[in-house]
Amino acid sequence: MAVTTFAAIDVGSYETSMKIFEFSRKAGFKELNYVRYRLELGRGSYTGGRLDVNMVDELCEILQDFKKMMKEFGVEEYRACATSAFRELKNPILIIEQIYQRTGVRIEVLSNAEQHFLGYKSIAAIETGFKKMIQKGTAILDVGGGSLQVSLFDKDALVTTQSLKMGSLRIRERLKELGKQNIHYDQLIEEFIRNDLTAFQRLHLKDRDIKNVILMGDLLTDTIFKEELDDHIITRAEFINRYQNTVDKTEEVLAEELGMDEEYASLVIPTMVICKNFLDIFNAESIWVPGVSLLDGLAYDFGEKKKFIKSVHNFENDILVASRNIAKRYSSGKNHIQGTTDLALTIFDSMKKVHGMGSRERLLLQIAVQLHDCGKYISLGDVAECSYRIIMATEIIGLSTEERQIIANAVRYNTTEFVYYDERNDDGSGLDRKRYLLVAKLTAILRLANAMDRSHYQKVQGLRAVLKDRELQLIIDSNRDISLELGLLKDKVKFFEEVFGIRLVLRRKRKM
C-alpha cells in the first residue's frame, strides 16, 4: 500500500506517550496524533527496582486506550518501547508479560544505547543542516527522567557517547528529603552531579572545541523554553536569564507560570541545573532545540526499514566509528583490525546463500572484528575473557543489549573453546537458540579471518572467495611466507565446516 500508519509508544520514566504517523513514499511521514499521559514509572523503579501494582494497572489502562486510538487511525504496525524505568526493574520480563497478557501490547525494553541512537536519528531526520553541523565539534545533550546522554560529534562522525545516571526524575527522587531542609536546591543539585560531570570532562571532553550544542527536547525542555523557542535556538543569555528566573521558585509557582502540571514542574529545576552545568563545561554560546523525541526516532527507523524514507546520513557508520573509538581506547592494532575486517567481510559476502545472514549481522561482524582483542589492554594472558567483559560493560550506540551480547560472545569464542548449546550450563549470558546460532556463525567467520592475520603483518594481500556448490574456495594472495597462518588455520577450518556444513578449501594464488 502506498500509505500506511504506524504508532510509536514510549513508556518513559515520567510520561507514557504515543505518536501516530502516516507514511507515504511521496510525502515521507507526518504526525497524526500525539498523546501523552503523566505516569511516573521511574519513581518506583529507580528507588526500589519494582513497579507498584497500581502503576502497572494504570499503564495497562493507558495502553488499552492507545490501542483504541490506533484503531481510530487504522494503525496496523506499532512499536512500544520502554526506557530506563524498565531497564532498572528487577523483574522486567514478568512485568512485560503481564502487560502483554492484559493489553496485547508487547513492550520492548530499549537499551540506553539504542534509545539514544534513535533519538539522534530523529534529529538527523528533520534537519538536513545536521550533516553540516557535525563537521565541527557538536554535542548532543539528552536529558531524560532517568539518565542523560551526552554525545560528541566531530568531523562528521560520532566521537563518543556517554550515559550518565543523572536524569531529572532520578535527581528529584534522590534529593527529595534533602531538598526540604536546604533552601538552595540548585546548589544541592550542582554538588550532587559535580563528580560525574568532572569525570566526563576529564575523560571524554578533554580540550575538544564544542561549537554547537543540541538539546534533545523532550516535553519538559520544550515547555520551559516555550518563549525562547520560536526559532528553536536558545542563546546563552536567554538561557541564563530563564535560569535565574526559575531556580528560586517553588513548584507551585513554576506550575502556574509555565502552565504545566505541578508534577512536571517539580522536574524543571533539576533539568535546568543539569543543562546549565553542561553548557558551562561546553562553553556554548547557543543551544539548538530541534523539538524531536524518541517517538520521532522510532518513526524514522520504521520508515527507513520499510523504505518510505531515504536516509541522508549513514547511521551505521556512526556505530562503526563509535566502536572503532572504543577499540582505540584499548589500543587495539589498527592495521590488524583493518586487515581482519577485509578478510571477514570477503568471506561473509561470498557465502550469503550459505549463512543466510543480512546487513545487520554484517554490521555485528564488523564490530566484533573491531573489538576482538580489546581485552589485551587488560591482560595478555586472558584476552578472551577480558574482551568479553569490556564489551559487556561498554555501551555501543545503536546496539541493543542482545546484540552487544552476541558480539561479546563471538569475541570470547574467537580464541577460547566454543561451548555448545546443550553444554551451556546457564552462565547468565542468557543466549537463546536464535542468538546462539548467530554467535556460532560469527565466531566461525571471525576465527578464520583472524587466523589469516595471526602475525598481524597483513601478509594476506588479497583474498578471493568462490562458492561452488557445497565448497567454498578461499584463494589467498600473498607473496610472503604464510605458513604460520596456514598452519593455524586447520582447526579453524574444522569449526567453520561444522557450523556451515560446507567444505572449505584454502589455496594460495598461483604466481604467474
Partner: protein, 720 residues
C-alpha cells in the same frame, strides 16, 4: 500589558442577577407587544415564567447558600449576597406583577375575542360544564389524588419541589372539647394529568378551557367526605434542592461553601407562590411550616405557574393567531447527490440554524456510521433531544465496527438523569463513552470523523456554537462549520485526547480552547485593538454572545473603549457592563435581540487594523465559560464563510424591530421606528435562507432534467 486598574470600580458594573432579570423583562416585553400574534404572546409569557423558575432554583438558591455560609464578599457591582437577595425580591415581585397584569388585562380579553374562553375560576362554569368537569374529576382525577392532612398525630407532609398543590382548611369536630377545630389538609395537583383541559363551551364558535386545579378545588369536598372544607387555595413552592454548587460562583466561594456544606439547609423553601385570595389562616400555616419570610412569598392574582400557557399555545387551531412555523431551508452546498465528504473536501461549508436545516449535521454522523472508509467518530454531546437521531447514528456506527468516542457531559444543568440513560445505551452499543473532566464542564461542540482515503488519513470536523440537538436547532440561532482542513483535524484529535484525560498538546494550530488558553487570547485580541486605536489605526470590536459578565474581559473592553476602540456588542442575556460612562465606556454599544428564535450563536469580530479576524464558538464572556469549562472558539478563515459571519453581525446590528438598546441608566429600550424601514433580522435570515435554497434548486433544475422528489415533512416541533 493593559493597565486595567482604573476600570475595575464597582460602580462601573451591574449585578449579574439583576441584569438577568432585565433579560426576563425583555422577554416579557414580547408578551406585551401588541404587534405580535396573540398566541405567540402567550408563549413568551410562559417562557418568562419558566425562566424565573430556573433563576430561582439556581441563582437565588445559590445566593441563599452564600448567606447561610456567612459569605459577605461583594460582587463586581459591590453588593453583598444579602443586598442582592433584597433587590432581587423587590424586582421579581414587580416582574410577576407585570406578568399577571399582562395576562389578565390584555391577553385574556383578547383570547375571549379570539374565541377561547379561559375559565379561571370554577364558579364561572355553566351547569352543563359543571356536570362535565365533575364527571372528568371522577373518571380521571380522583383515582390519582392523594390527599394528606396534618393533625396532632400526623406531621406536615412533604411537599415536592415545583409541584402545584391545593391547601385546604377543614373543620373537624373535637369530641373532647365538643367544638369545631380547623385542620390543614393538602393535595398535589397531579402532574401526570394535563393542566389545561378543554371543556364544552356551550356556544358556537367559542372554545373553553379550565385549569385542572379548579376542577379539583370544585370537588375538594369529595376528598374529605366527613368534614367541611372551609377554604381551598392553590400554592406552589420552590426548594433549594440543587445538589451541586452552581458553577458560576467564584473559586473562593466554592471552597467556602464546601466547608459549610453541613450547615447548608437541604430542601429549604426559597419561594412560595399562593393565590392572592388565600385565607389568612391557611397562609399562616404554610408560612410557619415552610419557614418562609414575607419577601419570598408571592401573592398571585391568577393561575399559578404560567408555564401552562405553553399548553394553551399548543392547542389545535387558532392558526391565525400564531406565527406560522418556519421550516428550515435546505443548505445549498448539500442540495445535490454528492457524498457529504466530497462536498466538504470541495470547501468548508457554513451552516446557520434554524434558518438552514440541521439535517446535514445529522447526516454527517449518519454517513460516517455507514461509510466503509470511516475509521472513527468522536463527538461531544451536551444536551440532546429526546429521541436523538445522532445518538442512534452513533450507536449504529459502533455496531458497524467504527471506533466511536462520545463525550457525554453529565453535569449539564437539569439534564443529568436524561443524559445518563442514553450514555448507558451508547456504552451498550459499543461506544467509548467519556464522562468529561472532573471540575470542568465540557461545553464545546465539536465532531470529528477520521476517514481512510487513497491519499491517506483525512479528518473531517464540524465545529459549532450550539449543541448537537436536532430539536433546539429549530429554535436556537446557531452557526456551524464543516471543514477537512488538517490543522483543525489535528486540533480536534488533541481536544479529544485532552477530554480523555491525556495531557494537553504542546500547541494548538487553530483552535482557542478554554479553560487554559482562551481568556488570555481574547484579552490579547482586545489589547491589539486598543494598541491600534492608540496608533491611529482603525480599531473596532463587534461581538455577539449570550452573556457578558467576565470582570477581566469587561475591564479590558473599558480600557479599549477609552483608547478609542469602537465596541458594538450583541448580548442577548446577562450584561454586567455599563455603557456611556464618560471616559470609560462611551465607545461601547450594547443591544439585545429577543425574538421568535432564541439568539444563541457566539461570533467575535476584531478589526485588526483592517484585516478583520472572525471567530465563532461555544463560549460566552463569562468566568464559567472562560475558566471552568472546556470550550472551543475557532477562527473563521474561509473568505466566503467569514463574509457570511460578518453579514450575520451586520444584519443584527441593523435590526430595529427586535433589538433592545442598553441605555446608560441600565434600562433597555427599543428603537424609535418611525420613518424607518423595519428590519427584523431573524425574519430576514429566514427569507435569505429560503431564497438561497430556492435559487440553488432552480439552478440545479435548469442544469439537468432530473425530477426533484418532494422533501419529507419535518418532524413536528418538540416542545421545550
Amino acid at each position: 500589558m493593559m493597565d486595567l486598574k482604573n476600570f475595575e470600580k464597582p460602580e462601573y458594573f451591574v449585578n449579574r442577577e439583576l441584569s438577568w432579570l432585565k433579560f426576563d423583562e425583555r422577554v416579557l416585553s414580547e408578551a406585551k407587544d401588541k404587534s405580535l400574534p396573540l398566541f405567540d404572546r402567550l408563549k413568551f409569557l410562559s417562557i418568562t415564567s419558566s425562566n424565573l423558575d430556573e433563576f430561582y432554583m439556581v441563582r437565588v438558591a445559590s445566593l441563599k447558600d452564600q448567606v447561610h455560609a456567612g459569605y459577605e464578599k461583594t460582587d463586581i457591582a459591590g453588593l453583598t449576597p444579602k443586598e442582592q437577595l433584597k433587590e432581587i425580591s423587590a424586582q421579581t415581585h414587580e416582574l410577576v406583577h407585570t406578568q399577571y397584569n399582562t395576562l389578565t388585562r390584555s391577553l385574556l380579553p383578547l383570547l375571549e375575542k379570539a374565541g377561547l374562553h379561559m375559565i379561571l375560576e370554577h364558579e364561572e362554569l355553566t351547569d352543563d360544564q359543571k356536570e362535565y368537569v365533575d364527571r372528568y374529576f371522577e373518571d380521571n382525577v380522583y383515582p390519582v389524588l392523594t390527599p394528606m392532612a396534618m393533625d396532632s398525630s400526623r406531621p406536615f407532609p412533604l411537599i415536592r419541589n415545583k409541584t402545584l398543590n391545593i391547601g385546604a382548611l377543614i373543620s373537624k369536630k373535637d369530641r373532647k372539647k365538643d367544638k369545631e377545630v380547623l385542620e390543614f389538609a393538602t393535595v398535589q395537583v397531579p402532574s401526570v394529568l394535563p393542566r389545561v383541559i378543554e371543556i364544552p363551551s356551550g356556544k358556537e364558535g367559542v372554545r373553553a378551557v379550565i385549569m385542572l386545579e379548579e376542577i379539583i378545588e370544585r370537588n375538594i369536598g369529595k376528598l374529605f367526605l366527613s368534614n367541611d372544607v372551609v377554604c381551598a387555595h392553590p400554592y406552589r413552592i420552590m426548594r433549594n434542592a440543587d445538589l451541586s454548587i452552581d458553577e458560576d460562583e467564584a473559586e473562593d466561594l466554592l471552597v467556602e461553601i464546601q466547608k459549610q456544606l453541613k450547615k447548608r439547609q437541604w430542601g429549604e423553601v426559597i419561594r412560595l407562590e399562593v393565590e392572592d385570595k388565600m385565607d389568612k389562616r391557611l397562609l399562616k400555616i404554610l408560612k410557619t411550616e415552610f419557614e418562609i419570610k414575607n419577601e419570598d412569598i408571592f401573592s398571585i392574582s391568577g393561575p399559578l405557574d404560567l408555564t401552562m400557557l405553553m399548553k394553551v399555545y399548543g392547542l389545535d387551531g387558532f392558526d391565525e393567531y400564531k406565527t406560522p412555523k418556519y421550516v428550515p431551508a435546505p443548505v445549498p452546498a448539500f442540495q445535490n447527490d454528492k457524498d457529504i465528504f466530497q462536498v466538504i473536501r470541495e470547501g468548508d461549508v457554513f451552516l446557520h440554524h434554524p434558518y438552514m436545516s440541521f439535517d446535514p449535521v445529522v447526516n454527517f454522523v449518519r454517513q460516517a456510521a455507514k461509510d466503509p472508509d470511516v475509521l472513527a467518530i468522536k463527538q461531544t454531546l451536551y444536551r440532546v433531544s429526546g429521541n436523538s437521531p445522532i445518538i442512534a447514528a452513533l450507536a449504529q456506527a459502533a455496531e458497524n465496527g467504527k471506533q466511536v468516542s462520545v463525550l457525554v457531559e453529565l453535569k449539564a444543568r437539569f439534564d443529568e438523569e436524561h443524559n445518563i440513560v442514553w450514555a448507558k445505551m451508547l456504552e451498550k452499543a459499543g461506544c467509548h463513552v467519556i464522562y468529561g473532566l472532573v471540575g470542568l464542564k465540557t461545553h464545546s461542540k465539536i465532531t470529528l470523523v477520521v476517514r481512510r482515503e487513497e491519499t491517506g488519513i483525512r479528518r473531517y470536523v464540524h465545529m459549532a456554537t450550539g449543541n448537537y440537538n436536532d430539536s433546539t436547532a429549530k429554535l436556537y440561532t446557531d452557526c456551524g462549520v464543516f471543514s477537512c482542513d488538517e490543522r483543525f483535524g489535528e486540533d480536534a484529535t488533541a481536544v479529544f485526547n485532552m477530554l480523555s484525560g491525556y495531557s494537553e498538546p504542546k500547541r494548538w494550530n487553530k483552535l482557542i480552547v478554554a479553560p487554559i488558553w482562551m481568556k488570555n487570547r481574547f484579552l490579547k485580541l482586545i489589547e491589539r485593538e486598543a494598541e491600534n486605536a492608540k496608533n491611529g489605526l482603525p480599531a473596532y470590536i463587534r461581538a455577539k454572545m449570550n452573556s457578558l459578565c467576565d470582570p477581566v474581559i469587561m475591564s479590558a473592553l473599558y480600557y479599549a473603549s477609552s483608547c478609542g476602540v469602537q465596541i458594538d456588542l450583541l448580548v442577548r442575556g446577562i450584561c454586567c457592563l455599563k455603557v456611556g460612562i464618560p471616559g470609560v465606556s462611551e465607545n461601547i454599544h450594547v443591544r439585545s435581540i429577543v425574538g421568535e428564535f432564541l439568539e444563541h450563536s457566539r461570533i467575535f469580530c476584531f478589526c485588526n487594523g483592517g484585516n478583520e479576524e472572525v471567530y465563532m464558538g461555544s463560549a460566552d464572556w463569562m468566568p464559567r465559560n472562560l475558566d471552568r469549562r472546556v470550550e472551543i472558539v475557532f477562527p473563521v478563515e474561509d473568505e466566503s464563510i467569514r463574509a457570511e459571519a460578518i453579514h450575520v453581525l451586520d444584519l443584527e446590528f441593523k435590526d430595529n424591530v427586535k433589538a433592545h438598546i442598553l441605555q446608560p441608566d441600565g434600562t433597555y429600550v427599543k428603537l424609535d421606528k418611525r420613518g424607518k424601514a423595519l428590519v427584523n433580522s431573524q425574519m430576514e435570515f429566514c427569507r435569505e435562507a429560503q431564497e438561497k435554497a430556492a435559487g440553488n434548486k432552480k439552478q440545479n433544475k435548469e442544469k439537468s432534467r432530473v425530477f426533484v422528489p418532494a422533501e419529507p415533512a419535518e418532524d413536528p416541533e418538540e416542545e421545550k
